[in-house]
Each structure stands twice: as structure tokens, then as C-alpha cells.
């Protein structure tokens, strides 16, 4: 503990560059001390800052869960949807208003259990969505039940004698389903994570970043893995950066090696490009470009 103790004077005019990106009127947030979700949000904001994104044109969509609360704290058009359905909501939003940068920010249970079907189909379509999954290997919001990402031998509130179901390897799943970009980091890798996020803001198509993140309250503690700090030490020690590693070799275990890095970065036409070229091929001049969103919300919709 002592190594963490430090006393810092905060000057009165201190300015946190992250604040303009967050709904400060909603602070304090709900996340526990030592939780990794806030760290990922910090990286997300850094990435937005560095990429000089126009926040009026960024929309964030979350499902339900501790991670699902991210949308509610982001100072931009933000949608807290239903459990598992952030991706299909984001799909409709993106197609109606393609100039938006649509980010999906949700948990491992949300995106890969109840929402797993939507994930693989959006990846298959190469929908231009930036999907960030905070993988805490557990259903945290509901009290620490097993997720499809919980590694074997870990215990959860619904697997008190240990998990024996094999877990998903998310990066391999994303690659196989067709994602254009696939990376994994941990909340220890804040610089790399922020850079990766910045990179996907610039990339077209379905992009996926898995962030391994501690849930000290419900996962680490039950599994005697210590607090948030212990998790950082483990991430630091066990991580190997291997860009381009075959995703099939990157499965996670309870306390083994964590392969991180950018695994996939490929160019495929995205959904809207595919749609357009097929329609032009079939319909020629008769094809009418989709016109759905009103340019200016103050102007009465002309459709």
C-alpha cells in the first residue's frame, strides 16, 4: 500500500483536459475504486483529443452493464440502449446518418453473450462501427456471474465450484467474423490503448478493440487476485506485445500470458460502399443515394 501513498496539492485553477468530454454534472460516476472502466474512458478521451474529432459528429452507443454506463458519461450524442443490442442500434444510427463516427462501448457479456449474434453479423457486413469491449471476464453489473469470457477454473457467483465451459477468444472471433481491425490491450497499456483508439477513428469499417480490465469488486476478489493495483502488476508482468500475432494463439487464461497488440488491420469495402456499388451495378442511373437525416435539426425534416 505504502508505495501508492502520495500527497498531491491540486491548484485551484487546475484544468483536466478530459472534462470537456465528460458530463461533469453527472459526477461522481458509479464505478468502484480500482475499476478499469474509467481508465479506458480516459484513453478514449485522449484518443478523441489527439484525433481532433468534432464531438458533434461522434455518437456513442452502449448496451447494459457497468461498461454500458460509459455512454451516459460521454459529453456527445450518447445512447444507453438495451442489453446486447448496442450494435444493431448503432447500425441503424450509422446508416441513417453516415457522417457520424459511431462508437460502440460495452462489456464482454453484453457484446458476446446476449449480443454475440449482432457482433458477428456487424463484423461480417463490415459495418463502419468502432467497437470497444471492456473485458472484465465477468457480468459485473449483476453481481459477478459467469460470462462467455470467464476463463476456466475461475469462480463466479453462478459457478461457485469453478467455470468449466470453454471461453471465447474475442480477438479470434472478431477476425473470423470479418473485422477490419482487431487489437487487444489491457488497462495497464494506456498509451497503446489510446493510440489504438485513435487509429480506429481513422479507419473505415468494423473495428474492434478488446480491453482487458479489472473488476476488483466481483472478479479479482472472488478469485483471490487482489485489488486493482494487483491487477496492474499482473497485466504488466504477464503481457507480451506481439503485433500481428495469429489471433487463434491469443486465447486468455485465468493467470497465464496475455498477448496484446494489433492483430488485424486490413482493408475491405465497408457496408455502405458495398451497398452503393451493388445498387449502381444493378440499377445504374435509377439508383438514388439514401437521403434520410435532416442536415439541420432546427429545420423541419423534409422527408
Amino acid at each position: 500500500m505504502s508505495e501508492m501513498e502520495c500527497v498531491m496539492e491540486i491548484p485551484e485553477d487546475a484544468f483536466n483536459p478530459v472534462e470537456p468530454f465528460l458530463r461533469m454534472d453527472r459526477m461522481p460516476h458509479i464505478w468502484c475504486a480500482g475499476c478499469g472502466i474509467g481508465t479506458t474512458v480516459n484513453c478514449f478521451v485522449r484518443a478523441l483529443l489527439n484525433s481532433k474529432a468534432d464531438l458533434d459528429k461522434v455518437a456513442i452507443v452502449s448496451g447494459i452493464g457497468c461498461t454500458g454506463r460509459v455512454a451516459g458519461y460521454a459529453q456527445m450524442d450518447s445512447f444507453h440502449t438495451t442489453h446486447g443490442r448496442a450494435i444493431p442500434f448503432a447500425t441503424g444510427l450509422k446508416l441513417a446518418n453516415p457522417e457520424l463516427q459511431v462508437v460502440v462501448y460495452s462489456g464482454d457479456g453484453d457484446l458476446f453473450a446476449i449480443g454475440g449474434n449482432h457482433f458477428i453479423h456487424a463484423a461480417r457486413r463490415n459495418m463502419d462501427l468502432k467497437v470497444i469491449c471492456v473485458n472484465n471476464m465477468i457480468y459485473a453489473m449483476t453481481g459477478g456471474q459467469s460470462a462467455p469470457t470467464t476463463p476456466g477454473h475461475a469462480t463466479t457467483s453462478t459457478a461457485p465450484y469453478g467455470v468449466f465451459e470453454p471461453a471465447f477468444n474475442l480477438v479470434s472471433l472478431a477476425e473470423a467474423a470479418g473485422a477490419s481491425y482487431v487489437a487487444r490491450w489491457t488497462t495497464y497499456h494506456v498509451m497503446q490503448l489510446a493510440r489504438s483508439m485513435e487509429e480506429i477513428f481513422k479507419k473505415k469499417g468494423f473495428c474492434f478493440i478488446e480491453v482487458l480490465s479489472p473488476c476488483p469488486t466481483l472478479y479479482q476478489r472472488r478469485n483471490k487476485m487482489g485489488d486493482g493495483l494487483e491487477a496492474m502488476k499482473y497485466y504488466k508482468k504477464a503481457s507480451k506485445i506481439r503485433h500481428g500475432a495469429p489471433t487463434s494463439e491469443c486465447a486468455l487464461t485465468k493467470d497465464g500470458e496475455i498477448v496484446v497488440g494489433k492483430f488485424v488491420d486490413r482493408d475491405r469495402p465497408d457496408y455502405l460502399e458495398l451497398l452503393r456499388s451493388q445498387m449502381v451495378e444493378s440499377l445504374g442511373e435509377r439508383y438514388a443515394e439514401p437521403e434520410m437525416a435532416c442536415e439541420d435539426a432546427e429545420v423541419t425534416c423534409s422527408l
Binding site: F79, T82, C301
Partner: protein, 386 residues
């Protein structure tokens, strides 16, 4: 405001109800649809898929009905008018997102071409057994609108009405077809675009710094925004305050949930649509809707021939239910006869409205076909004898 001529197929057509419904969506200004195939409703989106690329919009076939029913809501917040279409099992899957649309006040249209149930039931055959599900199928208290067309022409007309009501009240609106109406082919007249009234989305005129996304405005309905317009708003299915922020307190819940129902009161009282005949002297009134109203028409004719003073009350707006009008009739008629292609659903509402002032006879049918007019006639005769 008038319809955009790009979507309006002006002319006299020979269309089935599903296709007419699709033309209604286009005339209403819908430019986005997400669907998942299911009999007997698929023709609506098949036609949309073939028409929309030349009108300027998108159809996407999603991976399931959960996806379809939330993708349309993403599109609405992106600025589009949007709808989805389904039947039977698909409608059951959409329930969570009907609740989400009600809670987030997302204007959108759900078309349900009813088939026999429960479960996979009778995929190709008619029923009207989703009427209570349409009203109450998602968890919690909320309000919706449901319209019941009886002909392909009404499938066109009422679909436009469905979009208009969804924009006015910011509720999900259910188009409750049945397999017969969906698959029957009749003359459909599509007017000129300038003869079609469209309710525009009620976008706010407030600047972002003054705007609260769920502040009740005219008729308790908040004003709309769309993503990308600089408002940086927040939408959640959690109980929320006027800023759209989650608020887990009893007062916030009470204020919000009551408003979600109460805002539909103008529709319940007076503005609901119905078709009536011979109510002036009626001693027996047949209350019906959809295809069953057309079968009942024959029974009404036969009853009049026998000298029974039978009147007709065809529900077009099934939800909100026209409680006041039925209650008023109950004070001066002997009985209501309520035939439906189910084991008794809307009849509960008629009973509730009649409140013992008049008898209520249910004429049930488990679905798969339509009533024999004789069955309805027998009930009318029995009611007249009371």
C-alpha cells in the same frame, strides 16, 4: 406538410394489403426499414427492398427481430423515419424494443401481420390474437397506439396515419393487420403527394444550451433532436429526468411513467378512429375490427333483414381503446356482440367500458380461418332476445 412525391406511387392499383402497407410507409416518408423474414408479413419488406433504392433510402435484413426492432430506433435518432415488420414469433421478440421505444419516446412504426399462435402456430393463416400483446406485451406501464385496417386501401391510408401519430405523440405505433387483410388483393387508390398530409418530426427550435431532451412540451410530448446536430443529448431506457439522465427515485418514475400513458389521452378521447353504422336506433352493437369486421358486415345485414336493430362499431384505433364512446353506447343499447379471431381479447375492453350497463357477448374463434357469419348472427339474435 405534404408527402415527398419521390415516395408516392400515385395512381389506381391492384394490391394486396402487405404491398399497400409498404406503399404507405414510402408515402409517409419512411426511408429506413430493418426486418427479418416471417410469413405472412415478409411481402411488406420485400417490396420495400425493391422500391427503396430508387427512392433514396435503405432496407437492411437483420440477423433477427431483436436487431431489426432496435436498428430502426437507431435510424430514427439519426434522423430517419423508420419501421419494421413482423408476425407471430417475431412480434414476441420485438417486445423489449417496443418498451424501449415507449420509454425513450422514439417515433417509429411496427407492422404486425397477425397469424395463428401461440408459438409457431399457423404461419400462413389468420388470427387476431396479438391484440393484448400489442398493448401490454413489453414489461412495465406505457402507452402505444394500434391501428387495425380492414382492407388493402386502409393498409395504405392507416400506415401513413401510423407514422403521423408516432411523430405527434412520440410513441411506437402498431399496424395490426391480420393474414387475410395482408394477403387480400383489392383496388388501392394512391393520391397525389400534395393530397397526402404528413406530420413532420417535431424538432426543437431551442438552442443546445437551453434544450432538455425530455422536457414535456406541447401536449406533454417532448421535442425531438437528431444525432450530429450539436445537441450532445443522452437517451436511456433507464428511468430518467428531463435531461435524459438516469434517475432512480420514486418521484421521477411516477412523473415519467404517468406521462408516457397520459400523453395519449387526446387520442383516447375523441380522436380515435372508428367506423359506425346504424347506431342511432341500435339495440345490439357489433364491435369488431380487421377482417372480422367484414365478416360481421354480412351478419349485420342478415340481422337487419330479420328486423333486429343491429348497429356496427368498427374499431380502427384499437389502442387507445375508445372507452368513452363504448360507455356512452352501453347506456342506450341492450348488448354488444364482439367477434374476434381469438379466444376473447378486445372483448375485455368492451366489458370494462360497458361496466354492466349492457350485456357483452364474445364470439370467439381460435384462428386459422374467419368466422362463419352465421355464428355472429346467432349471437346478435341471442343478444336481441335479452
Amino acid at each position: 406538410m405534404h408527402a415527398d412525391p419521390k415516395g408516392v406511387l400515385t395512381g389506381v392499383h391492384f394490391l394486396d394489403g402487405d404491398h399497400a402497407c409498404c406503399e404507405g410507409t414510402l408515402a409517409a416518408g419512411a426511408r429506413f426499414s430493418a426486418g427479418y423474414p416471417i410469413t405472412p408479413s415478409t411481402e411488406v419488406v420485400e417490396r420495400f427492398a425493391s422500391r427503396i433504392p430508387t427512392v433514396g433510402g435503405i432496407f437492411i435484413q437483420m440477423e433477427d427481430e431483436l436487431a431489426a426492432s432496435i436498428a430502426i430506433q437507431g435510424a430514427v435518432w439519426g434522423g430517419a423515419k423508420a419501421f419494421t415488420v413482423t408476425s407471430g414469433p417475431g412480434y414476441s421478440l420485438m417486445m423489449e424494443h417496443i418498451g424501449y421505444a415507449a420509454m425513450t419516446e422514439t417515433p417509429c412504426v411496427f407492422v404486425n401481420v397477425q397469424r395463428g399462435g401461440p408459438s409457431t402456430g399457423l404461419p400462413t393463416l389468420p388470427a387476431q390474437a396479438d391484440m393484448m400483446q400489442a398493448r401490454w406485451g413489453s414489461h412495465g406501464d406505457y402507452g402505444i397506439v394500434a391501428l387495425c385496417p380492414s382492407s388493402p386501401q386502409e393498409c395504405f391510408d392507416l400506415t401513413i396515419e401510423a407514422f403521423n401519430l408516432s411523430e405527434e405523440f412520440r410513441v411506437p405505433v402498431m399496424m395490426m393487420l391480420d393474414e387475410c387483410v395482408g394477403h387480400m388483393t383489392e383496388k388501392v387508390v394512391i393520391p397525389k403527394a400534395e393530397e397526402i398530409e404528413i406530420t413532420p418530426r417535431r424538432f426543437t427550435k431551442e438552442p443546445p444550451e437551453k434544450f432538455h431532451v425530455y422536457e414535456p412540451k406541447e401536449n406533454q410530448v417532448p421535442e425531438m433532436v437528431q444525432a450530429g446536430a450539436g445537441y450532445r443529448f443522452h437517451i436511456t431506457g433507464l428511468t430518467h429526468d428531463e435531461r435524459g439522465y438516469p434517475n432512480m427515485n420514486i418521484d421521477a418514475q411516477d412523473r415519467l411513467v404517468r406521462r408516457l400513458q397520459d400523453k395519449l389521452k387526446p387520442l383516447a378521447n375523441g380522436r380515435g378512429l372508428c367506423e359506425t353504422e346504424n347506431l342511432e336506433d341500435a339495440e345490439v352493437v357489433v364491435v369488431s375490427y380487421g377482417i372480422t369486421a367484414r365478416v360481421a358486415q354480412r351478419a349485420l345485414q342478415l340481422a337487419r333483414r330479420r328486423g333486429i336493430r343491429a348497429g356496427k362499431f368498427r374499431l380502427i384505433t384499437a389502442w387507445p381503446f375508445p372507452l368513452e364512446r363504448i360507455r356512452e353506447l352501453a347506456g342506450r343499447v341492450k348488448a354488444f356482440v364482439v367477434p374476434e379471431l381469438n379466444l376473447g381479447q378486445m372483448v375485455y375492453e368492451v366489458e370494462r367500458a360497458a361496466a354492466g350497463q349492457a350485456a357483452v357477448l364474445s364470439v370467439t374463434h381460435a384462428g386459422g380461418g374467419v368466422h362463419d357469419p352465421e355464428a355472429i348472427l346467432n349471437a346478435i339474435v341471442e343478444a336481441a332476445r335479452l
